[in-house]
Amino acid sequence: MKSAVSIRNLTKDFSVGMRGLKLRAVDDVSIEMPSGQVFGLLGPNGCGKSTTLKIALGLVKQTSGTTSILGDEAASTEARRRTGYLPEAPYFHRFLTGRELVRYCARLSGVSEERLDEAVGRALDLAAMSAAADRAVGTYSKGMLQRIGLAQAVVHDPELVILDEPTAGVDPVGSAAIGGMIAEMRRQGRTVVLCSHLLGQVEQVCDRIAIMDRGRVVLQGAVDEVLTGRDRHLIEVSALTPAAEAAAREAIARAGAVVVGVSRPRRTLEELFRELVTGSKDA
């Protein structure tokens, strides 16, 4: 499988304080992120996720190891031309309108003047920001800032989109909308790298994940593989009477399997919230 992002034996040490003590933020990390998939990079705060992504984008220099994006050296201009990036908690020039901001980013990303209007319109549509595009960025809510950030990241039609905490500070409805946009990007054939703390959403939209802790990768693989590794199965039944339950247990035991427990499945709070709240002003 062709890799969109290839990280090999990446290590990053930061110097701390006057005496230059070394703090290892990323420790011998190797990850392959396949093309055309959504890859989730998970881990607690300070585990090295953002630093790894910044190294991949050439914003921070690694201590050792190699990183490549779409076959090019990660920090190269060519690699960045084919990559879109939404930083964590993005902040943009408040005096620009959303459309002006996306046009500015499109120009910096090399979109030609002939294609500019079409590219900006398409990116605003994808981020569901067309209606608010002519308002100043300073008037946007957090969710709208994330979405305009998404629009500037994809305006030049990149093959790879890196999203660092795109749902941070966004309400569940807005998060679901961003999840939908990520799914749409995958449908369009883009590779998406997603850093997020919303594990439920990562599980829904990601094909593969890597979990980092204290600068190291502690687990990586396809979502289905890593989550179904245990020898457990779930049968969902409605209108289960005590008699039906007893019969089912007996049948299962006869077949040589063991019923470990019977419980009523719960909805998650997020599912309940999304079921009850159909939309918010800035969703």
């Binding site: 910044k54 984008l57 050439g58 914003l59 921070v60 220099k61 201009t77 060519e78 960045r80 031309r81 990559t83 990036y85 930083p87 964590e88 908690a89 993005p90 902040y91 943009f92 020039h93 005096f95 620009l96 500015y104 980013c105 120009r107 910096l108 990303s109 090399g110 950030g149 500037q152 030049h156 890196i162």
Partner: protein, 276 residues
């Protein structure tokens, strides 16, 4: 060509951001008010001619407020991009660090150009009006009537723009390597002071009985520190019919441009190593 276009776009946005800053509005309005009302302060002329006082007053305001603006605005606009993480968004695009930094510089320099042009226009208005009022009085008294050279004032404005460009480039160099905004501003202001006193090193270098260490330090200072005093030829350019010594303006422009380019080059080299 693409690189130039990207630099221009960053400069444009920097310009738009800079003209919205309160510091710019405040210093521009205060400078314009002081330059416009400079005739009212002529009783402080210390025995000099009235027009010379008005011109010196305007030139002083231009340099003082312009330097303050160049140092604070340059550092602030760079740190705002770094602290607010807009730099992350821009540098993740196919924009080189040099393009980013040069875009910031040209944006600031454009604002400084607007500042200089506006203040020089006001000063020209005041000087020409006052010269027209004083001419009949001087003729009646049998004295040589005062004159104001508008072309000389335009050349002076260009020299001041280059001088403020050097200060902005120097501050950008300091800010590119510094950790804090405050350090950049303090170091930038000290560098302006050093530039104003650079002639001391030139004097020291000219003395024959100076030790090797002192001579070496003076030699280094005369090369590394820009001589900001060499741009103070406003009186000669604007008020004296003979004008400035031949080649003084050209020499200042050439030396200033070299310093400006050198500081920009050093700023880009330093910023390339910086972790964003």
């Amino acid at each position: 060509m693409d690189s130039l276009r990207r630099t221009c776009w960053i400069a444009r946005i920097t310009f738009l951001e800079a003209v919205r800053q309160r510091l710019f509005s405040f210093l521009l309005l205060l400078g314009a008010a002081l330059a416009g009302s400079s005739v009212a302060f002529r009783f402080l002329n210390f025995g000099h001619g009235e027009l010379k006082f008005v011109a010196d007053f305007g030139f002083g305001i231009m340099f003082l407020f312009g330097s303050l603006l160049a140092v604070v605005m340059t550092a602030q606009l760079l740190y705002a991009e770094l602290d607010n993480r807009t730099a992350l968004t821009l540098l993740a695009k196919p924009v080189s660090r040099s393009e980013f930094l040069l875009g910031k510089f040209f944006g600031v320099w454009s604002v400084l150009g607007v500042f200089i042009v506006l203040l020089c226009s006001i000063l020209a208005g005041v000087l020409l009006t006052r010269a027209a009022e004083l001419t009949p009085l001087a003729e009646a008294a049998g004295r040589v009537p005062p004159s104001v050279d508008a072309a000389g004032l335009a050349l002076f404005a260009l020299l001041q723009w280059v001088r403020l460009g050097i200060i902005a480039a120097l501050t950008l160099f300091l800010a590119a390597g510094a950790r804090t905004f405050l350090f950049s501003v303090v170091a930038g202001m000290l560098a302006v002071l050093g530039g104003q006193l650079q002639w001391l090193a030139q004097d020291l270098l000219a003395k024959p009985d100076v030790g090797v260490v002192q001579r070496s330090l003076a030699w280094f200072a005369t090369r590394a520190v820009p001589n900001l005093q060499q741009f103070n030829i406003g009186d000669a350019l604007v008020l004296e019919s003979a004008g400035a010594p031949a080649g003084a303006a050209a020499s200042a422009l050439l030396a200033g441009s070299l310093h400006l380019l050198a500081f920009l080059f050093l700023a880009c080299a330093l910023f390339r190593r910086r972790e964003i």
